[in-house]
């Protein structure tokens, strides 16, 4: 990965921020949103999040984790448990990170 390539990626991401946030008010003309699109829009964000998160949690160097003794599994489980208990994202991050640091420093997982 070169610096120039990374900068091109970032310029594109910045444009995407502007285009998605202004999508329906940048164009003069009003476009009606078809039903199938509105429904698809509901699933695309959660699909993208799940697709990015799952490998980060259960994979190591391109393979399924060879051991269950990995702090990430327990940190993710703790985060999810906290979320479904309290419905709150900040606490999810704190609970998961606390488990992460405890296992990494305490047990070396």
């Amino acid at each position: 990965m070169s610096l120039g390539w990374g900068l091109v990626a970032i310029v594109g991401l910045t444009l995407l921020t502007i285009i998605t946030r202004g999508f329906f008010f940048l164009a003069e003309r009003e476009w009606p949103m078809p039903d199938w699109l509105a429904q698809g829009l509901r699933y695309a964000p959660l699909a993208a999040l799940a697709a990015v998160v799952a490998p980060e949690v259960v994979m190591l160097e391109g393979r399924l984790m060879p051991t269950w003794k990995d702090a990430r599994l327990f940190a993710a489980a703790a985060g999810l448990a906290y979320f479904f208990w309290r419905r709150e994202i900040l606490g999810t991050i704190v609970a998961g990170t606390a488990v992460m640091i405890t296992l990494r420093l305490g047990l070396g997982w």
Partner: protein
């Protein structure tokens, strides 16, 4: 308001730390923080950028994560469409989640009003400033914390919480489980295409369930 400030602060801090520990390097982490200004898209594309995925996969992933803004933009339209294009362009960059929620609460009536623009810019610039402050602090802080503590994982946890908050129907659960499984199963595909395959499969199953089993796709009230 103090709750909101803590929220932005924590989210920015986590994003900053995750960027600094993702392996993308300090100049890119700084540029990303200062320009992109979309925390969840930044967190989601970070591992892709660090592993050198093709640009279109990076951009497609960010576009999907950002789709909620497309939906918000439809509600912004009646307030903003009378303004000149350049001004709308500037405004578009700043219409983040929080501004949306605050603005719509303050001006529930979808009509332009002279008090709206000052309110918008006051809120937006405060939001942008606090976001940058906390995100840059996160980048600086991550340098001081050893990588083996696994602090960078806080970014993944933030995305996990965001994902969990979207799982409001059985159909949403099924689509998410399918996306996660497909992304892992197809991991060996080149060019990070596993992400694309996973998104396509999950959106397809979501659309299918909306038609075949509307009971699973309906939000329980």
């Amino acid at each position: 308001m103090s709750g909101i400030a803590v929220g932005i602060g924590a989210w920015g801090l986590v994003t900053g730390m995750a960027m600094a520990q993702s392996g993308m390097g300090l100049p890119l982490a700084l540029a990303m923080s200062l320009f992109v200004f979309a925390g969840s898209a930044q967190l989601a594309t970070m591992p892709l950028i660090a592993s050198g995925a093709p640009l279109w996969v990076v951009w497609a992933t960010a576009a999907c994560v950002n789709l909620r803004f497309v939906i918000f933009s439809a509600s912004w339209r009646p307030y903003l469409i009378g303004l000149p294009f350049r001004q709308r362009l500037r405004i578009a960059y700043f219409t983040a989640d929080l501004n949306y929620v605050m603005f719509m609460r303050r001006f529930p009536d979808p009509r332009p009003d002279a008090r709206q623009l000052p309110y918008f810019w006051g809120g937006s610039l405060t939001n942008w400033g606090s976001w940058q402050l906390s995100s840059l602090s996160g980048i600086a802080l991550a340098d001081a914390i050893p990588a083996h503590w696994g602090i960078g994982f806080a970014g993944t946890l933030a995305l996990l919480g965001l994902l969990a908050s979207l799982l409001t129907t059985p159909a949403a659960w099924m689509a998410a489980v399918l996306a996660g499984t497909a992304a892992v199963a197809a991991y060996a595909l080149p060019l990070k295409l596993n992400i694309v395959v996973a998104i396509a499969a999950a959106v397809a199953i979501g659309l299918l369930l909306e038609r075949a089993r509307p009971d699973l796709a309906a939000r329980r009230r």
